[in-house]
């Protein structure tokens, strides 16, 4: 995926918050990432270390909460975790599903000193 663009956005959000709260140092960034986005955590940390050099966020650890995809059946409204794509509803066998989770991409919080 486009990890550099994503990391730049994460960094901008973190720095904006850190400056607003007159923080000395950001030690941790808590991220919520849907598995469907394809974002690779190691890659984001690598770019983050590079981008954050010489800033309040230098050395911060990124923590990823990965959200598995969930689907809702359009027939019976059953809500379930989608372990594999292309499956039918486990409750009624319906074949029209709508994905309702797994696309998340946000900064949950930052931990500062």
């Amino acid at each position: 995926m486009h990890e550099l663009a994503i990391t730049q956005s994460i960094f901008d959000i973190v720095l904006e918050q850190a400056e607003k709260t007159k923080t000395r140092r950001v030690s941790k960034v808590n991220l919520v990432i849907g598995e469907m986005t394809g974002v690779v955590g190691d890659c984001v940390q690598f770019y983050f270390d590079f981008i954050s050099k010489g800033t309040l966020a230098e050395g911060a650890t990124l923590s990823f909460v990965m959200v598995p995809p969930k689907a809702q059946c359009q027939g019976c409204n059953e809500l379930f975790e989608l372990k594999e794509f292309g499956r039918t509803c486990p409750s009624c066998g319906g074949n029209r599903l709508q994905i309702v989770a797994g696309k998340e991409l946000f900064v949950e919080s930052i931990e500062v000193e």
Binding site: V14, P69, R87, F106, E111
Partner: protein, 216 residues
């Protein structure tokens, strides 16, 4: 100390996309973001759509590619306004690129704007441009397993066009399995079988498009 942030990572792009959308809405420009892998037939579809809608609606085109203006040159032969965006290696169009392109297009003379995204089934799915509808072109030679491999893209779109349907007798592609896989990810999507080479299904596609414009 922990500080709650709860901010969408792509919010900067989303904000520009919303501005684009307002500009398009105020000018009455219905905009479609066309996405596909490289070679699925985006440019051919743009050409067929222009031909099918000649005299029915005024079309403008934004072409997105890593480099070259080959596509814009092809489209400009149809006498419609066209802007080429070169991303310079970037794997997707973003809202800021569209914002700049819009300022260079004669929007007052356009009712339907077709944006041809960079050929890629991964990244373009994550970046809103300000469009009204997203359309995916999948083609027979790519195989029927693509919805299972690129679920986010198939989830994001309003219509899926199966292009090169005229090649069905020569290649192994199960249209039923494909459609089932798509509906298992996106139960609301419209699926059309088309061929830009023979013209099959193009009328159904443009009827859907005109309907979406009216219902907006």
């Amino acid at each position: 100390m922990e500080i709650k942030v709860l901010k969408n990572i792509l919010s900067a792009n989303e904000e520009i996309a919303q501005r684009n959308r307002k500009l398009l809405d105020s000018g009455g420009v219905f905009t479609v973001n066309l996405m596909s892998s490289p070679g699925a037939g985006k440019t051919s579809l743009v050409l067929e759509t222009i031909k099918a809608l000649k005299g029915k609606t005024r079309i403008g085109v934004i072409e997105g590619d890593l480099s070259s203006s080959v596509d814009a040159e092809t489209i400009s032969k149809e006498n419609v306004p066209v802007i080429q965006i070169n991303t310079g290696g970037g794997c997707h169009l973003d809202a800021n690129m569209i914002s700049k392109a819009l300022s260079n297009l004669p929007l007052e003379g356009i009712e339907l704007l077709l944006i041809e995204n960079v050929g890629n089934l991964v990244c373009p799915a994550g970046f809103a441009l300000g469009e009204h509808k997203k359309v995916l072109i999948s083609s027979i030679p790519e195989g029927d397993d693509k919805p299972l491999k690129y679920p986010l893209m198939f989830h994001e779109v309003d219509a899926v066009l199966i292009n090169k349907i005229d090649l069905l007798p020569y290649l192994k592609f199960d249209t039923q399995a494909f459609s089932q896989a798509v509906r298992g990810i996106n139960g609301k999507v419209g699926i059309f079988q088309i061929s830009c080479a023979t013209g099959q299904g193009i009328q159904e596609w443009v009827s859907w498009l005109l309907n979406q414009m009216v219902q907006r």
